[in-house]
Amino acid sequence: MLTITVLAIAVVAAAGFWLGYGPMRRMELLQEPGARTERLHSRPVYHGLFIAAWVGIPSLLLVVLWLMMQGSVLDWLLLNSLPADELARLSDDQKQVLLNEIRTLAQGNQLPGEPAAYVLEAAERLNRWRITAGWAMFVSALSLALAGMALARRRISRFFRARQAVERVMDGIMLACAGVAVFTTVGIIISLLFEALRFFAKVPVTEFLFGLRWEPQIAMRADQVAGSGAFGMIPVFTGTLLISAIALAISVPIGLLSAIYLVEYSSSRFRAFVKPLLEFLAGIPTVVYGFFAVLTVAPALKAFGEAIGLPVAPNSALAAGSVMGIMLIPFISSLSDDALAAVPMALREGSIGLGATKAETIRRVLVPAALPGIMAGVLLAASRAIGETMIVVMAAGIIATLTLNPFEAVTTVTVQIVSLLIGDTAFDNPKTLAAFALGLVLFLVTLGLNVLSMHIVKKYREQYD
């Protein structure tokens, strides 16, 4: 039914387009080439688009709304149609279960056991209602489309400013698209916040924020009083910071210097060859980096540590961090490369023309001028480092140790979130809810990082640009 409805709307919209385009086109062909007065205000295409927009947009919106509402309206109707005495015995949760059963039956699936007669009846009724609802949607959407066409057609005339009207429709569509992104973000934040609040009802905020021990496994045991387990995020967080710092310490210099080399020194043929290769690094799945960290880098580091008498854990922060650093190189080099290449040639000439060497020009003029772009790259890399999961799951470890020693095993926020959510635990368990609290903090940290860098870039810009 949905497909038919959308197709019908498309057909009416196409008809509406011709209804606007055709007569206006004929009128346009009739007008004298040189005439200034009595010309169409807008080209015929705009008249057509105007009608099509009036046909398509309201009716499609109606369809979307309808689909969003239909489920709950039908549920409500269904509940009200059930025998009142049966309903009275059920709690709210049980009502939901009953509705689920009815829906399953309505789809033609079997239920374990023999359902009651009134349930079977309700399933049948649901099916009938669904068909009716489908037709009702079709009819109302189509009539809205036709009404839109009629209304829009009446406004079309030689003087009608269809061009501006279409412009406004485009504005609206773009605003709606931007709105989708914003609403999604807001939705994510709200759901995170909601679950995190439930967590903080069980575990005090202060303990979570300042606790030095992270042992969520303890709270899993049924006899344990929830909240008395160790949910201190500090060791997990230092783990994330340690690994991110290692990764950035490797990727920022390598990425930036390779970008400078590619833009300022290499021949264009070399650049054309190497730049895609570098960007190819970004396309390698992180699992593969994880293999590399576990199978190659970690053993090598361990062997190296043994050779010089340093105790290196088999899963060290350094192994995970350095491999992550390699993964991040393309983010930094690619964005820095673009930023450096965008610095006008005139600035290079100005500096060289004053007797500066190439290196002086790069350090004193090009890098400062490209700093906003470079910062963007570093920031992107930092966000990736903080949010990266796969490499650390594979190479860093799962035990939260509070340490800044890169040769020890540490764990990170993302690893903990994954391990907290794996397995069958109810969603009101503090262990599971802790994942949302961690997620919230992670989100806040990345947000803070974004704000900070925006601030730096802006300050820098104010000073110089």
Binding site: A346, L347, E349, G350, G353, L354, G355, A356, R364
Partner: protein
């Protein structure tokens, strides 16, 4: 070269070149084979002009009666396969202003950029010929191009201030070359340079505001201040006044007049009046060739070449 007195009125190099040119003229060949090949219609007057300028003191007074700062001989410049400058030989006197004029695209900027090897940083650009600064070939290994550019400063056609503060823009060269011992000296250099470029009064209260926030004309004066702060011996100016109002232009022209007491200045300009006002000698370029060079007054009042006359009187270009 300036140590040697001009007893003969010609440097050894010049004499040799002149002789060669004369021989070629006598042999009925163009001075530059490329020239006669590429412009088969007009080889004769051009050959003559070149010959006169270079070798025949009786016809044209050679530039280097005064001491010459820069001597160029048979300079050809190519962008890839495309030749932009054809066999240009030009002497640029010290403590004087040389104006380069000519229609757009005739190679003035290209020629100017040869004089401090700015063309090096354009990959496809190739320079042939002999260019000497005080007798030393600047394209030989003897001169470090970086130091050369400190000696031969440049103001570009489009203002290109760095995205730094006004102060830092002017202090850029002095800092790099260590011209100031301490902050006070640097402040002094910045102030005098800005004063000379007629910008000081407008910016003295906001020296630490961004240089890119100035108006186009102010930016150009900032670039001039930046160039003179490095204390070059030669200043190349590529249309320094094209974005300036008449008042600022007058100030820049005063500055040029003042600078020429101590410096050698080469200026590209599209304004005939400006060339006439500020320059001592004028060179007219057309289609990558040097058509005529001489004392400004003579070039403007009594040009030897018809093309020069046409250009100056506004009949083309």
């Amino acid at each position: 070269m300036s140590t040697e007195p001009n007893a003969t009125g010609m440097k050894p190099l010049e004499a040799a070149e002149a002789e060669e040119a004369m021989r070629e003229v006598l042999a009925g060949e163009g001075v530059a084979d490329a020239a006669s090949e590429l412009a088969p219609g007009v080889p004769e007057p051009e050959t003559l002009a070149e010959g006169q300028m270079e070798g025949d003191p009786a016809v044209a007074e050679p530039a280097c009666n005064q001491d010459c700062k820069i001597i160029t001989r048979h300079v050809n410049v190519f962008y890839g396969d495309k030749q932009a400058i054809f066999d240009v030989s030009l002497d640029i006197p010290d403590r004087a202003v040389m104006a380069l004029i000519g229609p757009s695209g005739c190679g003035k900027s290209t020629f100017l950029r040869c004089l401090n090897r700015m063309n090096d940083i354009i990959d496809i650009c190739r320079v042939e010929g002999d260019i000497r600064l005080e007798g030393v070939d600047i394209y030989s290994g003897e001169i470090d191009p970086v130091l050369l550019r400190a000696r031969v400063g440049m103001v570009f056609q489009k203002p290109n201030p760095f995205p730094k503060s006004i102060y830092e823009n002017v202090a850029y060269g002095p800092r790099i070359h260590g011209l100031a011992k301490d902050r006070t000296e640097l402040d002094e250099i910045v102030e005098t340079s800005l004063r000379k470029a007629a910008l000081w009064d407008e910016v003295k209260d906001r020296l630490h505001a961004p240089g890119t926030g100035l108006s186009g004309g102010q930016q150009q004066r900032l670039c001039i201040a930046r160039a003179i702060a490095t204390r070059p011996e030669v200043i190349l100016m590529d249309e320094p006044a094209s974005a300036l109002d008449p008042i600022a232009t007058a100030r820049i022209e005063e500055l040029i007049d003042e600078l020429k007491q101590n410096y050698c200045i080469v200026i590209v300009t599209h304004s005939m009046q400006q060339a006439a006002r500020v320059s001592d000698r004028t060179a007219f370029f057309h289609l990558g060739r040097l058509v005529e060079e001489g004392p400004t007054e003579q070039v403007f009042t009594n040009p030897r070449e018809k093309r020069t006359q046409d250009y100056i009187t506004g009949r083309f270009g």
